[in-house]
Symmetry: C2
Subunit: 430 residues, 2 copies
């Protein structure tokens, strides 16, 4: 763990380490992933069968074996605990409500001379959602990917998830039924990304692929980008917390650990002007660690990638946090909304003392798929727009083109594009 | 040229060829481009100097030599023809007006229990615009990339453009002054993309890179994607025209040629239920070709990548065009707006008999940077949003978290993430 002060001599080097936290060595796996993609493009399901036998340790015999039946999803849904089912429904409803507000609208504008200009927003035809499987199969990931696609109006939604030993995660199946998803395939990793990007005998080619995954999945998404669209290239999860003395150190400690328990590579970073708060949070982290079932992962993460930084003042803390551009940012102060204007980059901002990051993972409504590793400087949270695309609308009347056609033809001519020029001129009145 | 009928025996094969028009062989150049990027990352300007000597045939001596001075831009602006300057100003104003309408707004919503949820939209800090140089240096490309970045509110805008023989294109310089762009570097190709993605001694690292280019530029953009954001991976330009007997065949012929004159690899495709129209357009293309200064390019493009397809009816024509998903789509019928609802995919749609595609390249207002090769199925036109990113805003009151905290903690617990669960529970009232 980096436990430091911004005035320390070693600070610059320590901070550099935090800024480079997101670097993924895609080059290391791109050979392997490139071959996987080639195999799937060439041999389709035959290649998938081999990859599944190798990585998931079961042997599909025919194309249908890849698909999870609607009955098993219904069965899983009926068999989960009733309170959990209600909680998932509440989560579904809240996520849907938020994403509906986010949906962009088409617009048109006209000018008195008969010009009509606009922007039309329509859903993509099909989307492929990748959901990690096995022990880390999270129903919340399914909800967070399916709902924006549904709100966008995507007609064909395909889900791929690996099922080690051919044992689908029952919670995930229940969530599939709850969301009304019917095309779910037991395929994982880079193979799944390639299958959805190029299609196989029974897995349809899609237009957009979203969803979290390990470095193989991230690399495959980067490689198929251009043939399909993707949401973003995401790395390990991370939290940044800005806090002052008004914060509860016990709360902050468990908030930091809620990222650390995800993954040894997750980053948990507290920046505060209060040395007192920093010291107490450090002690509380140790207390909490002892109580966590995922203590081993969380401890390694905190040791390797955790940081507590004490700054001269809150302005400096904010400046450092803007450089970090964290996936999740908690502002644990009494004046959280006052500080908002100074925050330049973050995937999601959690304001005040009653907004733990975890409420955003499941229940608040906004998406929990967020840009990591500093990419919040240019990527956005997953949302309805990832499943839609825009089309410009242009319509000129005879009068309208006569008003600006000469100027248009002049620029075209200057650029040496005379067919462009003539295509306007032939429509002008002599 | 493919001149065919949808009922022909060979049609399926011919149509397949049209659908695969956009395939770029990125694999062929990825070795070269990968090395260029590595060199720029390692040696920065030293590597740039070498690449410039090799490709642009001039030898920068020091870092400052890469930058174009404000004086030379002002000088170019003052020296261009007055009517052209006015036309460029009109173009600038119309593009700006359209893009301002496109700019997304932040929004917030609150619930009576004290929950505040929202979506904040803010500009990226910096953008790098790539503008092809030499003979194909188009001032319109500069306007179409700069204006959305400016409307977004990007503080640092950097332009890179190659200058063969160290002779900048005067029109481009004039457009830079007109747009108020001050950081313009004489660097081109994959080297320019790498320089903007990773920074050099004096070219700043940016967050988003946009702009057109050849396959080396496109490949470099794909490779740096993830370290920065990019707009899209674009290939050769293309036009699709849907028309009936109400269309003027002479106009359609020159409209088709306005794409063909761009590039031998450009595609120009007319689909119509009228055999009569098809025949006449074919003849008119031949007539126009003889009059074009860029006849050689246009002729090769029409021969290799042109197509006229006669269909059973307009419904079939529309269905085929939706599969093609063209960059530019003209609907040259009297009922263009009635057909709009049936169009699923296109970068931009030009409606009616007085809306040639070229009006959208320069003057209409919407962006002329559009998805090619069928990627209109999932990509959008370049726009203000390419230079902005979103942040989710989440704030819960004590009352609000008590209302849904139990359900949230239950899902977290079910997923095995107990620190997530506890981070909510510690904030609930006992």
């Amino acid at each position: 763990m980096i436990f430091t002060n911004s005035t320390s001599n070693s600070f610059e080097l320590e901070f550099e380490e935090l800024l480079s936290r997101g670097k993924m060595d895609i080059a290391n796996v791109s050979g392997i992933v490139g071959n996987i993609i080639k195999e799937i493009k060439k041999d389709k399901n035959k290649a998938l069968f081999e990859h599944i036998a190798k990585f998931d340790k079961w042997e599909p015999k025919e194309d249908e074996d890849l698909k999870i039946s609607a009955e098993s999803m219904l069965h899983a849904y009926n068999n989960i605990d009733g309170e959990l089912r209600d909680a998932l429904h509440l989560s579904y409803d809240r996520i849907k409500t938020y994403h509906e507000k986010q949906k962009p609208k088409s617009w048109f504008d006209d000018e008195p001379n008969g010009t009509i200009l606009g922007q039309r927003v329509t859903p993509v035809d099909s989307a492929g959602l990748y959901i990690p499987g096995g022990k880390a199969a999270y129903p919340s990931s399914l909800l967070m990917n399916v709902i924006p696609a549904q709100v966008a109006g995507v007609e064909n939604i395909v889900v791929c998830t690996p099922t080690p030993d051919n044992e689908p995660n029952e919670l995930l199946l229940a969530a599939c039924h709850l969301c009304g998803v019917s095309e779910v395939y037991k395929v994982g990793g880079a193979s799944a990304i390639a299958a959805m990007a190029y299609g196989t005998e029974n897995i349809p080619k899609v237009d957009v692929i979203t969803g979290p995954g390990n470095i193989f999945v991230a690399t495959a998404k980067k490689m198929v980008f251009g043939d399909v669209n993707i949401d973003m290239i995401a790395g390990p999860s991370e939290i940044g917390i800005l806090a002052d003395e008004s914060a509860n150190p016990n709360h902050l400690a468990v908030d930091l650990l809620s990222q650390a328990e995800h993954d040894e590579m997750a980053s948990s970073i507290l920046i505060t002007p209060s040395q007192n708060l920093a010291n107490t949070v450090k002690i509380k982290i140790e207390d909490w660690l002892k109580k966590l079932p995922r203590q081993e992962i969380a401890r390694k993460s905190i040791e390797m990638r955790g940081a507590i930084i004490v700054t001269r003042d809150m302005d400096e803390a904010i400046d450092l946090m803007n450089q970090i551009a964290p996936e999740h940012l908690e502002i644990a102060t009494n004046n959280a909304f006052e500080l908002l204007a100074s925050i330049k980059h973050a995937g999601a901002i959690f304001l005040g003392h009653y907004t733990p990051e975890a409420i955003g993972d499941y229940m608040a409504g906004p998406n929990h798929t967020l840009p990591t590793g500093g990419t919040a400087k240019f990527y956005s949270p997953l949302g309805v727009e990832n499943f839609m695309k825009k089309t410009s609308i242009i319509s000129f009347s005879k009068k309208a083109i006569n008003e600006i056609g000469e100027e248009c033809a002049l620029i075209a001519n200057t650029e040496g594009l005379t067919a462009h020029e003539q295509s306007v001129r032939v429509r002008l009145e002599k």
